[in-house]
Subunit: 295 residues, 2 copies
Amino acid sequence: MNKVFTFNRVTFIGFGLINSSLARIFKLKSLSKEICAYSRRKETRLKINDLNIVDQVYDDLKKSVENSDLIILGVPVGSMGDIVKEFSSSIKPGAIVTDVGSVKKGIIDSILPILSKDVHFVPGHPIAGTENSGPEAGFADLFKGRWCILTPNENTSKKAVETVKNIWQEAGMKVTLMDADYHDRVLAITSHIPHLVAYSIVGTVTELEDQLKTEVIKYSAGGFRDFTRIAASDPIMWRDVFLNNSEAVLEMLGRFIEDLTALQKSIRWQDGEVLEELFVKTRDIRKGIISEEQD
Amino acid sequence: MNKVFTFNRVTFIGFGLINSSLARIFKLKSLSKEICAYSRRKETRLKINDLNIVDQVYDDLKKSVENSDLIILGVPVGSMGDIVKEFSSSIKPGAIVTDVGSVKKGIIDSILPILSKDVHFVPGHPIAGTENSGPEAGFADLFKGRWCILTPNENTSKKAVETVKNIWQEAGMKVTLMDADYHDRVLAITSHIPHLVAYSIVGTVTELEDQLKTEVIKYSAGGFRDFTRIAASDPIMWRDVFLNNSEAVLEMLGRFIEDLTALQKSIRWQDGEVLEELFVKTRDIRKGIISEEQD
């Protein structure tokens, strides 16, 4: 595929797993003449310099975005609004702002009113990740074959949406458009609740008496081991996800706790039939996912 | 390592993921002159024949164990007692009986009273598995580097324990001894509760309205995808695990639901501090597991 776009100057705000992975792709594929990054923390800025991906590393937000035609927000969901407020007056007219946050409605509500009318905001969520965080955790293949969901509204420039779509396709993603609210409900189930449950169960283990805890860590296989991997994800990022998608998360969490409590009762009453029926039914969902991946 | 043991005749009762994997090792390493298998289902017996691992496949339980010096039980936890009852009179004096069940106390209570005094029962649990089941799902490397827990009591023959230990070491496992009750508590946390939670959350999804369910399956990444893999495990095996380890499972499940409900409250009250504190703490457990694996 020939590149149908190149930027003069792109700025990555925040340089964690997602942004640092995408920056690698910008570098490898020469998608921008100049690649810039801003990070609040000195330690992170030093790490970014060491990686040799970025041309300019800034500790000044406003300067970092000046003259950029593309600004990519990769900071925790709860910080997005404040950060954009700080640099919004420095954005070049006609520039595109996009983000990589796991929650869409809350971000749109906090960012859209701040931006001037001649700046295009295309909210986005590349569904990819590992349990690792920080600039050094990134890698160019992170996005390959995964979905990216963009949640523009009816006023968003079609051309800006197309440009952001092209970027994620260059990263190897399948891109789809979705309503922001709907995105947040889907992600509450596919990602937010599983993370919350994993955090919670690993938290339960941290409160066990010492000897039992030691044995649990030693003999953890299958199930719990997978949960600890999920529960090792970035704490600030996930705190913000739950605070900013609380409505959808609480709705699904309520349903889940109901179902779990029913299971608890089935075990107490030794009702094998109910257990077996559920365990057979859940296999079909897995089959659905596997066949989706083979499409 | 030189083999310090060989059997004349070994019988695998049941030929699912674990037993069929172990049988592959018996075959590869010539650990027994004759390898036999029993399966209740004709379909499974035909599959076993096709695999070319086993010398004799039986549909008659008693005949399958006659003259065997080692009998390995790999059937669902809830069937162990009935099956042993059916063939116990045919076991050769001095033979060793062992099992691979994920619950130990319940199995011991159902099997030990049935066996005659001159038969050695060494309860065992190789902690290894995948979400796949059946004879064709097995592979010789399944056990490599994993733990196997044996739960003999003070009357179990030391020599028999040593023999079973050698078998699992040949399979590449690290072997440890543990009290049966304690094993069941540890496994309730490391394996049974995570499976129950995964089954439950995938079950919650099966009850969503159709469109949302379709999108959830389509965009499932990270968290939920891992859960569906866990929740695709063998239904009968897991039904029996929960019915036979209900005490430890219910105790831990109670703690977990309490902790999850507290988290629910923190989200409702937008208490970011509590969330962050937990999410930082859970990372340490992961570090513990990683460093344990590097030992």
